[in-house]
Amino acid sequence: MARVLSCWGLLLMLLAVELVLAAVGANWGIGGCAGLMALLIACGFMRMMRAPTLAAIFAIGGLFWLSVLLALGSLDSFTRTNFPVGDTLSSPAPNPRIPPDTAP
């Protein structure tokens, strides 16, 4: 009981820290806070440490493949040079879609 409540208290505190960091604009700090909170939930509420060993394996497996998805998935976008055609959308343009059967 005490464990759950103290965990909850910590989480609320971290939430407050997050809000403060957001006011400052420390984006990486916010990310770190969020990661810490997620870890707290996993260990405090979901009791990852006391779950069967399998649970930890699955959780780590999921996280590993998540990192593969994020890393390799964003690799392309971050290293690509785009040459946009004309200006990108500058205002809520009229629906840009043209019915496919109009003449050029």
């Binding site: 785009n82 040459f83 946009p84 055609v85 004309g86 990108t88 043209i98 496919p100 003449a103 050029p104």
Partner: protein, 332 residues
């Protein structure tokens, strides 16, 4: 069936790479099938050769390590070879002729630096680097020229670059190879490689932009005429008239009218033939498809544009505008 020509130095290099891959594949394939057959012949039930399990177990590790590392080494070499050829595609030489190509369901619009435009055809000079700047008006297309062994997807709202230096005069097909809707297979065209002088002549003779004939060409493609009627004098399939008469050289020629009399193909004839297909039904049996009527589909100004376009396909019958530049010409 003719073997695919290699119309650039790069194409030749890709062919060598493909040859290398083919050799390796054949070697491995020979090994696999050979071992399989040998094993079957030697070890089929009935012709059993006693083999001690001990030796097999001992060999296992060394075998595994050996063939794994050999495979890895070969693969890495292949990777490097292929990657080097690929990187070239990202490095267009300076001073290349920049031609804008726009994909659209279902046609290719080509625009030259001098303002000339054409549709489903791309004229380039021999021996000079050409850079295509590709974009799409709607979905993702892909501009593919097999004779040059290059292709690239064409995406909306951004330019993709594709460059090449053609080393062989002639006409080669290009295709859309990214599925782009039901008209996908009609989205093909012809790359025409001309000698530099012919290219200069061609540029000079092609109307700069927005002419009636250019509009007619777009209509011709867009209304599906090009699905049956051949209209590109230089394209590799230009002599295919199995579905419908070719438009090349049609204007001004003589043809069979509905009542069996010979008539001259002129503006009025074409106008009527498009609207009332009965005008030319005397010939219908000769072709695989029956032409639908375009009454109510095409407006009068569309018809005018179409006819203007068809006229340009019979250059010898028009004064002034000659298209005899191409050595590959197949018109009658």
């Amino acid at each position: 069936m003719t073997w695919l020509p290699a119309a650039s130095v790069h194409a030749g290099q890709v062919d060598i790479l493909l040859g290398g891959l083919l050799l390796i594949s054949l070697a491995v394939l020979g090994l696999v099938f050979g071992l399989m057959l040998l094993n079957i012949i030697r070890f089929r039930v009935g012709s059993r050769v006693p083999v001690s399990a001990e030796t097999v177990a001992h060999k296992s590790w060394r075998f595994e390590i050996a063939w794994t590392s050999v495979t890895l080494a070969v693969f890495f070499a292949l990777f490097l070879w292929a990657a080097r050829l690929y990187v070239v595609g990202f490095q267009p030489p300076s001073g290349a002729i920049q031609i804008y190509v726009t994909g659209k369901q279902w046609m290719w619009k080509v625009q030259y630096p001098g303002g000339q435009r054409e549709i489903n055809a791309l004229h380039v000079p021999l021996g000079r680097p050409v850079q295509l700047l590709l974009t799409s008006e709607d979905v993702i297309h892909d501009f593919s020229i097999p004779a040059l062994r290059i292709k690239h997807d064409v995406l909306p709202r951004r330019y993709q670059s594709l460059w090449f230096t053609a080393t062989q005069v002639g006409a080669f097909r290009f295709y859309c190879t990214q599925f782009c809707g039901i008209g996908h297979s009609r989205m093909t065209g012809t790359l025409i490689v001309l000698t530099p002088t012919d290219y200069a002549n061609w540029l000079g003779q092609t109307p700069a932009s927005g002419s009636l004939a250019t509009r007619g060409e777009a209509l011709f493609i867009h209304n599906g005429c090009s699905g049956c009627h051949v209209s590109q004098p230089y394209s590799p399939g230009a002599d295919d008239t199995s579905r419908a008469p070719s438009m090349v050289g049609l204007y001004g020629s003589q043809t069979m009218g509905p009542d069996g009399q010979r008539v001259k193909v002129d503006n009025a004839f074409l106008h009527d033939a498009i609207l009332h297909t009965a005008t030319v039904s005397g010939q219908a049996a000769a072709y695989a498809t029956q032409m639908p009527s375009y009454r109510g589909v095409l407006a009068e100004e569309d018809l005018a544009a179409l006819i203007a376009y068809i006229q340009t396909l019979s250059p010898s019958r028009l004064s002034g505008v000659g298209m005899s530049a191409s050595p590959e010409r197949k018109g009658n």
